[in-house]
Symmetry: C2
């Protein structure tokens, strides 16, 4: 896509990825306290400890976009917190402190807001994270909830999007697709799994799947070293029951909040065995990191190879 010189170019024309790239150049260079700025699941900051980093992330949840007006407020709160917890998980970290900004219509029942906070609090507490502040404003139309999290990660356990190595095996947790049928409001962020992985295995790259496998693989490729590609085996992709057997749903629906990670293949046998003893959550090897300029390829059941192009959710695409 060409740079937006024209005053009439809208965010819809650029799309979400294009917009983020444009904003990155507006914001400029990083100072030395910033290990990773825009472009991963969290920003990674040099705090004051020699052996750990601060993680920092925020994520908006908007009525009519991320939940329906009739969804229970407790679940909306759970989701708003859990999305952010999932970003901390993807870095191998632990959440510490949350602040919450909410926009409310004036005629919203206080009971609704209490339920929202009950959900926010429940998700935070489950992972020993504390809500320490926030602010409210009124809105006329769509209500929104923006959660910001600070987390921590030991330097040795930090897992970035950009660390995939050619030859790695690619894994996903859980099953993919059909999340909008319910899971998107009730999912358990994979913090326990991510911490266990970071503690027991030298995980290379990791990301949480929020915008669909096809989109999020593209994100990994975009920050990987030149010539790094992914081959994904269509037959191996774990399709969620809610996706009713549709591969396209597993590839593109989004809001799965599962982990995708890459690891040296010599750890695969040990990983499978130890994982099975530790977790009920499914763990599936879905492909490999390869030397390729084709970015992401889908290997069909008949062995044919097709490019897997990003077709997941784009906030500024047409409905």
């Amino acid at each position: 896509m060409k740079p937006a010189r024209n005053r009439n170019v809208t965010v819809h024309d650029l799309g979400e990825f294009g917009l983020i790239r444009t904003l990155q150049s507006t914001i400029g260079r990083s100072e030395t306290s910033v290990v990773v700025g825009i472009g991963d699941d969290c920003a990674v900051l040099r705090g004051n400890r020699p052996d750990s980093y601060l993680l920092y992330t925020c994520d908006p949840v908007v009525e009519g976009v991320h939940y329906r007006p009739r969804d229970p407020a407790r679940k909306v709160g759970w989701k708003a917190m859990a999305r952010n917890l999932s970003d901390i998980a993807a870095m191998g970290g632990l959440p510490r402190w949350a602040v919450v900004s909410i926009g409310l219509r004036r005629n919203t029942p206080v009971q609704w807001v209490k339920q929202l906070y009950t959900g926010l609090h429940a998700a935070a507490q489950r992972f020993h994270c504390q809500i320490v502040g926030g602010d409210t404003t009124h809105v006329k139309h769509e209500q929104f909830v923006v959660v910001t999290l600070i987390g921590e990660v030991e330097k040795s356990r930090l897992t970035l999007r950009s660390s995939a190595k050619i030859g790695d095996s690619v894994f996903v947790t859980g099953t993919l697709g059909g999340s909008l049928r319910g899971k998107h409001l009730t999912f358990i962020p994979r913090i326990d799994e991510a911490r266990w992985l970071a503690n027991h295995f030298p995980v290379h790259a990791m990301i949480d799947l929020s915008d669909g496998l096809s989109n999020d693989l593209q994100r990994l490729v975009d920050v990987s070293p030149r010539g790094t590609g992914f081959e994904i085996d269509a037959a191996e992709i774990p399709i969620a029951r809610a996706a009713q057997g549709k591969l396209s749903a597993a590839l593109n629906d989004g809001e799965d909040f599962e982990l995708l990670f890459t690891i040296d293949p010599r750890h695969v046998t040990g990983l499978r065995q130890k994982w099975a003893r530790k977790f009920r959550t499914k763990l599936t090897e879905i492909g490999r990191v390869v030397r390729s300029h084709h970015k992401v390829a889908l290997i069909e059941r008949d062995g044919s190879k097709t490019p897997l192009t990003p077709a997941g959710y784009d906030h500024f695409a047409k409905d």
Copy 2:
């Protein structure tokens, strides 16, 4: 106001203060890493340094509430960042890292978003703060910008809302009222002034004036020790030119983003002299902290005393 047991009670019925009190009890007790949770300008967190705290704050800016659709995007961005910087100033701290969540309509020109970021970045950079991440979503109606800031403050310089002492003199920076005529989009957060104060004088309580002097004094009283009250001299209140001589505007308009602080009266002479040499910004002694159950009293020009009741901006009050 009575507690909201009725399912039909709305956020409008409770008002902003009532809602915040309700939510505090939903969120529960603090763990030991939290020095100050909900109820000050920022949360204060025990980071990993023995001699300093982390500050943590977020603040939403909504189209039609905090700015008009026709306001320049650069100014909207400046305001969204500067409001948060003002909260860091009120704690005596320095800002470090920002994340930004924005909700955009799909037909918003990319140029508008770039200008928004130019404003966000300009305000951040002015105070050596860096934007390190964020997220965007689409909205159908009102656009919003939520900035979250992490700052730092030396333990010895932390200034809380709750530290007013009976006998203190009460000061405000700048002038008050009429901010909506323009200042609310272009104000300079008082970080330099607050740091200088914290470095040179033992400031007791401090707050930034965001919701009007009458509201924000009430906030100080609410967290002060029992029996602590404020007497404010009507004749001393510095009325901004934009308020056109109206005392009520200076008391209640809000969005002034000036500092209000209390200090032992024996420092008053030194403070006045040194301030005048250092800053062009006005500094005015407007009253004192007194032993009183009457909370906040306004001393009129004729010497009569009337209660100063909160009449500033309430997000959930009627328009």
